[in-house]
Symmetry: none
Subunit: 201 residues, 4 copies
DNA sequence: TATGAATGAGGTTTCATTCAT
DNA sequence: TATGAATGAAACCTCATTCAT
């Protein structure tokens, strides 16, 4: 995916993400909007994509891939589980700061096609993404086990659910800040880590 | 909300939910579809609602209210935290069985307006819903404390996040069953409860 | 026309005229509006008329007939040409005071079907109206001749055009008062009479 | 107004006028009709105008402007009042020949918004038109005074009403030819001129 | 290759008319 | 007889897509 994208395609992807980050609803975006955001003509969009649905789907997937790759690098760069987890929480916060991010939906039960139905036509890409997410999760769990912070008595499924739970708890906090006016992000991060340790320690 | 709805309104609400439960995307539903699903004429829809967006928004909110009320009753009917929690997990599973349920979105960070943008015009109703959800959460936590299963040393925020986390972990399992072909629902429920206890016990 | 109208019909006619006098555009009036103005149900309108167009057409004609009958009586009641002409000008002014009167259109070249296309389906009634208007005109001219104010040297056509002209001049004044802020109605009436005399004296 | 109109706009204006001259009622014209008359697609209409009402209003005003400009030129080209007045009567006749002309409404008391309600949203253009009409009237009166055919003893208002009256008398004749089967257009024109002279000579 | 003017299918909405009560 | 809830035909308008330039 990294390769094989024409310069114009990237411009379109970037334009579209600008729109989505600005809070635009993918179902309500017009081809006109996409062309404008990319700084190209409306017809040009169709020189690179077969339909509006395809542009939007591919743009979302392209950027998710980018974000996940960057995410993995930022996480891998840290040495300890605590730091890695902290970076992951930061990433979640950054993404949820986007009005309707994409990453947060990966975490929820709904999955990405709840975000944009037509993504389900991109099964292959979706599978790749899922794998990338799992790779990150696995990376964390493995590290935790290596550090002896996570004990290996529990099943892999249990460990996964524990991690998901800690992340989802934090996601919920970020998404509903108004419910917790007195809680700082730092506190919430600590709580999430504490939950992780209690579950897996 | 329960009261004050004409018979036809309810018919429209029910028809619409039938569509949504069948996996229809609210953004792609046509007024024609709504009328057909309700077994009425297209024009009749406009005798009761001002626009398509209004019908869909109000139908979603109406049914969420119903579901939450029923949920609370089913939960309240149980005596122990373990049973209450189990019922809540069952509810989540039932809802996520719906192709794109509504309840699961309440749990995710995104919130309901990620499900249907135009809901944000129904602020009042949305606030009511949020309160109902919190009431359920509170009910569980209180019971847990009364049963001495949940200790009161941790902050309320911590308790909330722990519960959210356990629920979200299970939601993730239900939404991504294909990732865990060997795990039964019963096992997943047990894991979720175990997570809850470890976090709050 | 005077007879043969059910009480409800009259109510509908009166309601409609209330709307028209209020400035409503006959093309934009809804059956709902008509029913409301008449204080009856929408369905009832169709117990008395075959279509919306028919109601409106017949209402207009009914009221024009009434107005013309009253007009003739008011004019006939006066003794001298001067007085009769003055009353006619008063009538014109009253009618034009109505936002979009009907009488003024009789005077213009366009004719009544410029006011409401569907009137042309009521040929018979329209002919009756035209005759009533001519009767009034003739009544004035005859009186003028009897009073020796109008000389009989000129052709009947000439006399008609002269009268029409004087009336139209005044109509124009009434319809475009803003063009003549310094001219009083009384002055305009005098000018109109002067024009008549000059033309026919 | 002549300038600043895209080629397509003019095509739409011309198509619409074709419809109106053919006797179409502006309230009953469909966007489809407009597009067909202009030989373009339905959507294209909306590339140039915001709504059906706007197209129709602007088309009417555009053509009235054109007609009035041409009218003024034809009148100004003549040397004597008699000839100028004769040309004006010819113009009236030509316009009234159109089933529901526009010019005739300028002459009647009703004014243009009786022709098409939505014109009243184009106040600026309407004012321009009124001025053009007055300019023509003034041009005639001035010439008459210069030729000593019109004496200057009477007030300007009187002169205006006299001219309006003569024109309206003729308009009435043209609009109601069936009432005067034995009168030729030439005779009617002579009568109108005679009325003018009697009133103003 | 890139464009945006043009298109018309298809959507939402209105409202005259019907008909069960 | 009188009603107004219900209907769906038909209107307006949008916007994805095409294609001549």
């Amino acid at each position: 995916m990294a390769a094989g994208h024409a310069e114009k395609e990237i411009a379109i992807f970037n334009g579209l993400m600008k729109l989505l980050r600005r809070g635009a609803n993918p179902y309500l975006i017009k081809v006109q909007d996409i062309a404008e955001a990319a700084g190209i003509g409306k017809g040009t969009v169709y020189d690179y994509f077969a339909s509006k649905e395809e542009v939007i789907s591919k743009a979302i997937l392209y950027h998710l891939n980018q974000e996940l790759k960057a995410a993995f690098q930022r996480i891998a760069a840290k040495k300890t589980l605590r730091e890695k987890f902290s970076v992951l929480l930061d990433l979640i916060q950054e993404c949820l700061g986007d009005n309707r991010s994409t990453v947060n939906l990966l975490l929820s039960g709904g999955g990405l096609h709840n975000f944009y139905t037509f993504l389900k036509e991109q099964q292959q890409e979706l599978a790749q993404l899922k794998e990338k997410v799992l790779k990150i999760i696995d990376h964390l769990l493995e590290h935790g086990r290596a550090e002896k912070i996570i004990n290996s008595r529990e099943s892999e499924f249990y460990q996964l659910m524990a991690l998901q739970g800690a992340l989802a708890g934090f996601s919920h906090f970020v998404g509903q800040r108004d419910l917790y006016p007195d809680v700082t992000v730092e506190e919430a991060k600590n709580v999430a880590y504490k939950l992780l340790l209690k579950a897996l320690g």
